[in-house]
């Protein structure tokens, strides 16, 4: 009989022990305000939110759960009511989103720019392009490989917009879609010695490890505007509207904006605050 205790009892004992562990200690704190922010991989993986949010959490006592996805998916999550607030970068899609009544109080938060990057040797000769359209045309003509996000993110939306300037994207063997985030896509471009479109924040954050150089930048159409939008509480009653509005207010306040302007990599500002005029500007 003694044998039984050692072997068979292991199962239920193990089960019971684990069930006792199961209650979710964090769920018990849900009474403490906790909001969900869906945002792009560029704001999260660059380290910006990790740097900003503790200031907000301390000041307002509201915990922010960050879900980093592409802008397309962030808009979708907001539409379904799965998050309270979004920080995204695709103005055209955002306006449609607000127009459809899914979001309210859209505010611009910060801006940087997109740039075309590629192998430093620049085989497709984009560095000598006179205009954005010329650069894209050169890429197509000289058969440089272009790596696309292909994930309906803000960067991907922008990229599709740009290809319209030259009558569409490159043909098949010269156009690769990764379906992954900006960092992963930059890495693919690096491995394939190919070109890609990236936001400056992510490029500054991870580009140092990669053999990629800016080959075209500075066109007005390459502006990259990040806005914050609160999910419409009239559509989704469970949304933590007031807490989400406090995050919106804080990010666009002089304090939040100053902190954004102070976030740098190797001395360069990754995101330029754009919500309020700051002292000395």
């Amino acid at each position: 009989m003694k044998h039984l205790y050692h072997s068979i009892w292991l199962l239920p004992a193990f089960t019971l022990a684990v069930l006792l562990m199961a209650p979710d200690p964090v769920a018990a704190e849900d009474a403490v305000a906790r909001i969900r922010l869906a945002t792009t991989t560029s704001t999260d993986n660059s380290g910006l939110l990790e740097y900003l949010l503790p200031h907000f959490e301390e000041k307002c006592g509201i915990k922010v759960d960050v879900i980093a996805v592409g802008t397309g998916k962030a808009l979708k999550l907001a539409e379904r009511g799965d998050v309270d607030i979004i920080l995204v970068h695709a103005p055209v899609a955002e306006l449609a989103f607000v127009e459809a009544g899914w979001g309210v109080n859209r505010r611009a938060v910060m801006v940087n720019d997109f740039l075309l990057v590629g192998p430093p040797a620049d085989p497709a000769n984009l560095k000598n392009a006179g205009s954005l359209a010329d650069a894209l045309q050169k890429l197509k003509q000289n058969q440089g490989i272009f790596v696309s996000r292909g994930d309906d993110s803000g960067t991907h939306k922008k990229e599709r917009e740009l290809w319209l300037l030259v009558g569409g994207q490159p043909e098949d063997p010269f156009y690769l879609e990764t379906g992954q985030g900006m960092e992963a896509t930059l890495r693919v471009a690096h491995e394939k010695e190919a070109y890609t479109l990236t936001d400056r924040g992510t490029f500054l954050a991870v580009g140092g490890q990669l053999d990629l150089a800016p080959v075209f930048q500075g066109d007005a159409r390459l502006e990259n505007l990040y806005s914050i939008i609160v999910v419409n509480p009239a559509r989704h009653g469970h949304v933590k509207y007031l807490a989400a509005m406090r995050l919106l207010a804080w990010l666009t306040s002089p304090e939040g904006q100053t902190l954004i302007g102070g976030f740098r990599k190797e001395g360069e500002i990754l995101f330029h605050p754009t919500a309020v005029p700051l002292k000395g500007e």
Binding site: L10, F14, V26, D65, I67, D82, E183
Partner: protein, 213 residues
Amino acid sequence: MGLEVFEILGVSLRVSLSAVALATLVSVPTGFLLAVSSFRGKGPLVTTINTLMALPTVVVGLLVYILLSRSGPLGAFGILYTPTAMIIGQFILALPIITAITYAAVSGVDVRVRKTAETLGAGPWQATWMVLKVGRLGIIAAIFAGFGRVIAEVGSAIMVGGNIRGYTRTMTTAITLETAKGNFTLGLTLGLILLVVALAINLVVAHFLGRKT
């Protein structure tokens, strides 16, 4: 990272052990009953369960996401992007594996074990106990296989957990993130830590079994 690693490891273990414990409660009795009974359609049912072992984690993630989303049928509970949602996904992933291996283990127990027990005057419960006892190694292997499946999966955990720092970030979703950020060394280190913890759990159980044999 630093202390955060332990927090992430805690989330991983809490979620995966809970999921496996719950799946064990359902799967071991189911696998056992399947093995000792015979009925019409048993063959196709076993084939179905074996097939479900190949269920892609992202498909489970997507199904659970659709169910738990605020716009989904169970949206009112608001449990998407919580550890509970991850437990549900991993519970579903562990079910077919633990059931199928338990079924195989119990099927492999000689029918004479039960007959002998009954001849010696054992009631049905005692006879069942004997069969479970003889097949225990296979059943424990089933539970470990289930645990191995869920602690190592990333597809469902990232879709229904959201990889929220300090809340639903697990070892595997953290590895995915660190890889995306290009921190390969950190990613590999996390993978090694996960393996070491799995080894420790195996050793503890082996110790208990060792006393027996």
